[in-house]
């Protein structure tokens, strides 16, 4: 068993895990953050995408022990103080959500993209989400949503939601 300490959506956590536990199991079964989904278990579908130290990764193929001393962001952290982010709102407005099962992973991939590239071209958007499978929408509306969110962020004076690192427990929650 390993004792690991890490931050999830700004909250510190310390847990003991077996070596064989995956990060996905840690998030869903231990921490009850069920927003991150399992779609295939082999990294092919992207439904389990989270940000690990800011990088989009598929949690099903990461061991929980590797979360030690890391910062993890999941879909639950995208909403701050009950307020949807511009990205989440864009998904709703653009009709990019149907059954919703791929949506958390899509949004996390998009969040990772907008952090490293706030003004992506359509091609760059596609490259960022190509590892997230969707069977319902046909992707057009999802690409529209991310484009919309990028534009909304450009128009915002306050970029705190765009690229703020998740608040640590000593800083207090970020403003919505």
């Amino acid at each position: 068993m390993h004792t690991i300490s890490f931050h999830v959506n700004g909250e510190p956590q310390t847990v003991r895990v077996a070596a064989t536990m995956t990060l996905l199991e840690l998030l869903r079964d231990r921490l009850h953050l069920t927003g991150t989904k399992e779609g295939c278990g082999i990294g092919e579908c992207g439904a389990c995408t989270v940000l690990l130290n800011g990088a989009p990764v598929t949690a099903c193929l990461i061991l929980a022990v590797e979360a030690d001393e890391s910062t993890i962001e999941t879909i639950e952290g995208e909403t701050r103080n009950g307020q949807l982010s511009a990205l989440q709102q864009a998904f709703i407005d653009a009709g990019a959500v149907q059954c919703g099962f791929c949506t958390p992973g899509m949004i996390m991939s998009a969040r990772g993209l907008l952090r490293r590239n706030p003004e992506p071209t359509d091609e760059e958007i596609i490259e960022a989400i190509a590892g997230n499978l969707c069977r319902c929408t046909g992707y057009e509306a999802i690409i529209d949503a991310i484009r919309l969110a990028a534009a909304a962020n450009r128009a915002r004076e306050d970029d705190s939601l765009l690229d703020a690192a998740p608040p640590r427990d000593d800083e207090g929650a970020a403003d919505g």
């Binding site: 390993h2 070596a19 064989t20 536990m21 995956t22 199991e25 278990g41 082999i42 990294g43 092919e44 992207g46 995408t49 690990l52 990088a55 989009p56 990764v57 598929t58 193929l61 990461i62 061991l63 022990v65 590797e66 991939s109 490259e127 960022a128 190509a130 590892g131």
Partner: protein, 284 residues
């Protein structure tokens, strides 16, 4: 996750080698895990110990020194390979090949060393490294050795590594300014896919040679004999290369493609690769 393994995270290469040797065949190197964890999940491999290499500093470097070639640590993730500006200038074939592997998320984890040591016949990183004569730096309890990449893969998913050995770095010899490399991959779909056929080529004007490596057509990626460029026209060179390729490959039919399809597209892709190399454009 099914399985019954312990996890250790050595800080030095020496410690890692020792752990692997002591574990017999039941300790396996763990870097990106994108092949290994899938195999464990599918019951194809059942290690007792995973030796995580990701905290070993030397394995994480990516250095391009003028006149002295490039050294890539084997634990460098593929996205970093794809995005490194200097590498893109020097060896665009490798940068492009890296971009075709799996998905953005997986490339944040999958490492170049993992891709090499997995030794899939369809590996996308091996052909670009073959055509530039890369050598692998290997460490083991008996000390270090250098192994040419050509010959490193001994069969389908088999390498010449001995128990307790780790590939720690990939050395790419200095390439002259005018040399050009290119990569092509045929997939079944534009979305992420394993190669039905992949190819890399390196053109060295000063040596007057063209080197081509072909993947997914033999038990290991195959480096063709060098072709003299001489005063050949583009068409003649492409024909010669296509002929050599057709003679050298021994594709099988598998769930991804038939041998017939592979045979049909190899000469097409070789010609396109040669055209790409000869047309003066870098990379893509």
């Amino acid at each position: 996750m099914l399985g019954d393994f312990e996890y250790v995270r050595p800080r030095t290469i020496e410690d890692a080698c020792k752990l692997l040797l002591d574990g017999g065949g039941e300790a396996l190197a763990y870097a990106g895990g994108t092949d290994l964890l899938v195999d464990i999940r599918n019951g194809l491999r059942a290690p007792k110990i995973l030796v995580d290499l990701k905290k070993i500093g030397e394995l994480d470097r990516l250095e391009t020194r003028n006149g002295d070639g490039t050294v890539i640590g084997t634990a460098v993730p593929l996205n970093r390979i794809a995005e490194d500006a200097k590498l893109r200038t020097r060896l665009p074939a490798l940068s492009e090949a890296a971009l075709t592997i799996a998905t953005y998320q997986l490339r944040n984890r999958a490492t170049i060393g993992g891709n090499l040591c997995n030794a899939s016949p369809a590996s996308d990183s091996i052909p670009p490294l073959l055509v530039v004569g890369a050598t692998l730096h290997v460490e083991g309890v008996d000390g270090p050795r250098n192994v040419p990449l050509d010959g490193f893969c001994t069969g389908v998913k088999k390498t010449c590594l001995k128990m307790g050995e780790i590939v720690t770095g990939i050395r790419i010899p200095p390439l002259e300014e005018e040399s050009r490399t290119a990569f092509l991959k045929q997939q079944r779909i534009r979305g992420h896919d394993l190669a039905v056929v992949n190819l890399a080529g390196a053109l060295s004007p000063s040596e007057g040679s063209l080197r081509i490596a072909i993947g997914s057509c033999n038990p290991t990626p195959l480096l063709l004999d060098p072709i003299e460029t001489g005063s050949h026209s583009l068409d003649a060179l492409a024909d010669e290369a296509a002929r050599m390729a057709e003679a050298a490959i021994a594709p099988i039919s598998d769930v991804r493609a038939s041998a017939e399809y592979r045979r049909a597209i190899v000469p097409v892709l070789v010609r396109r690769l040669v055209a790409k190399l000869m047309d003066g454009k870098e990379g893509a």
